[in-house]
């Protein structure tokens, strides 16, 4: 037996990830919670998870689904409903007699695990419940729609997301979802480090899945469905599995997005949110987890922070209040995206991952 050694490229990868974590911890300790950099890290990590979950489906299994916003919505509402503190419920559900849910998971756990640990456990549990609910709906939706292929699947899942958005705002279920009113007052992880760590754990799970025997089967389905089926891979079972797992993580991502936004309304989970995430997946590289994560951070950082000046009249020292008006940064970022797509036909990373960048290229495309 050969002795297994950890390659240099994995060592570098670990170093980079640890460095990112250290920088975040440093920023957390130096900057106030409302600082734009902290906000960017939080939002970008949430978007990373959602983009990676979409990549699992669209990039690794080859199922073109556009239901992501719908599953995020389910996760977001589950989190909010389960976490609003009991004494705030009367205020939040003012039109529905304080709502039907009369407990708050973080408070329940704070009761016997102590305030800090207990509420964290409760919050994470609420996120997971959101994921499970999203996964359950994915299972139900998957039974009929996964028979469809490519564009038809995309339209069916898009329709599902829109239907969910409307149902959530339905007055009849108002005592649970507060209908079209905001849900607010639920707790948030204060630090960006917590976001980064939690998202890191979830993305690590997806990475492990993609590199397992199931992940290989997903890629086989993507590459050639007929051959995959002829080699004993049950298509219906594996497609459903990918759909359910992807939705599970999208649900968690939705819960964390709700956490980040501080207040959640079904209105904000429009199909344009799905397109935004699809954009991250495509620009990052379809089938590259590193690409999705990197692009999420680049995109959110430029949109929320670096290009802000374009909207407020001053950018890179240039003052042009006439041109740099509200909305101008959206025009600029669209141009940037078009240029990126022109130069990187397969996305920034293609189908490569972080460790691949440190591998020395050999002749004939042979990998180590």
């Amino acid at each position: 037996m050969k002795k297994k050694t950890i390659g240099k490229e994995y060592l570098f990868t670990v170093v980079i990830l640890l460095a990112a974590l250290a920088v975040t911890m440093l920023l957390d300790s130096r900057l106030p919670g409302y600082h734009i950099v902290i906000k960017v890290i939080k939002k970008a990590s949430v978007y990373s998870l959602v983009a990676v979950s979409m990549n699992l489906l669209n990039g690794f299994t080859g199922l073109f689904s556009l239901g992501q916003a719908g599953f995020m919505l389910l996760g977001a509402y589950s989190y909010a409903v389960l976490c609003i503190p009991v004494d705030k419920r009367a205020g939040v559900y003012q039109y529905f007699d304080g709502g039907v849910v009369k407990f708050s998971l973080p408070e329940v756990f704070a009761g016997f695990l102590g305030d800090k640990v207990g509420s964290a456990v409760g919050m994470i549990l609420a996120l997971l419940v959101g994921g499970v609910i999203a996964a359950f709906f994915a299972y139900l939706i998957g039974l009929p729609v996964l028979r469809l292929k490519s564009d038809y699947l995309a339209i069916a899942t898009l329709g599902f997301a829109e239907i969910m958005r409307t149902i959530i705002q339905w007055n009849a279920i108002g005592p649970l979802t507060n209908a079209s009113n905001l849900l607010r007052g639920y707790p948030d992880f204060g630090s960006a480090t917590a976001y980064l760590l939690l998202i890191g754990v979830f993305i690590a799970c997806i990475v492990l899945l993609v590199n397992s025997t199931y992940g290989r089967a997903f890629k086989a389905i993507r590459d050639d469905e007929v051959a995959a089926e002829a080699m004993g891979i049950n298509l219906a079972h594996h497609k459903r599995l990918a759909f359910v797992i992807s939705s599970f993580f999208a649900g968690i991502g939705g819960g964390m997005l709700a956490m980040y936004m501080g207040a959640v309304a079904a209105m904000s989970f429009k199909s344009s949110m799905t397109y935004e995430i699809l954009l991250l997946v495509v620009i990052g590289g379809i089938g590259s987890i590193t690409g999705s994560v990197m692009t999420s951070f680049l995109y959110i950082a430029s949109l929320e922070w670096l290009l802000r000046g374009l909207d407020t009249g001053k950018f890179l020292g240039i003052e042009a209040p006439g041109l740099f008006k509200n909305g101008f940064r959206m025009a600029v970022i669209s141009v940037i995206i078009m240029v990126v797509v022109l130069f990187f036909r397969k996305g920034i990373m293609g189908d490569r991952e972080l460790p691949d960048l440190f591998r020395r290229r050999r002749k004939g495309g042979e990998k180590k």
Partner: protein, 282 residues
Amino acid sequence: MSQNILRLENITMQFGGVVAVDDLSLEVNEGEIVALIGPNGAGKTTAFNTITGVYEPTNGQVSFMGEPIVRNHPQGKMKQSYKGKEAEKFLSAPVLDPTPDKITKLGMARTFQNIRLWKSQSVFDNVLIAKHMLRTSNVFSATFRLNRAEEARQREEVMELLRIVGLEDVKDELATSLPYGKQRRLEIARALATEPKLLMLDEPAAGMNPQETDELTEFIGRIRDEFHMTILLIEHHMDLVMDISDRIYVIDFGELIATGTPDEIQNNQRVIDAYLGVEEDA
């Protein structure tokens, strides 16, 4: 008497008004290499597809190792328009229509006429993915690496298989970067990785030059000997078929026109007519 592996009874495949396979019955016994030949459009691949679950036959039954696995009788509109024979024979028996993956799991693995390898995967992974169906792990144990022993064993088996078929040195290359002949070998290796009892080859020598065909002939013979494999193949190259087949079935316009050993087939007047054509009237 050796064991019967595959038996087709009265298999008929009708598309609309066209009968592509008409009342085909054949048998493959353990350890045999059986060839199914016929001119272009005779219905060979269609027959193949009804065995492997790609098509549901209009009528007839396929048995594997003595067990019926595919069975059908004309239903619905087809009841009126059915042009084949033996429409009553399977009427009372339940319909069996498994998907291709279920049939592969029973122990029948196939290759494709137009090579269908997984393009973005390495040679090694192409074979390893075929091992997926033999897993005992579920998605959790696989994700969290609780199936290490199984994974390691499967990797060993894949290496061994690649050694036997002579693709060990190119195991990390992209499957599609291999030369044509090696891609064929890889496809056969991939089918073998599912540990089948019957190997089904759909025109393995399609598009090969005479030298590559010779190598393939030798290779298929070696597979039979080393794996004690039973093989059913469809082929156009007569040298290959005559060299390695134990028995041959010839079909033309969906119908079985001859069966026998290579010598018998070579001297069969109907087969010669089918391939060369007969003058009408005269």
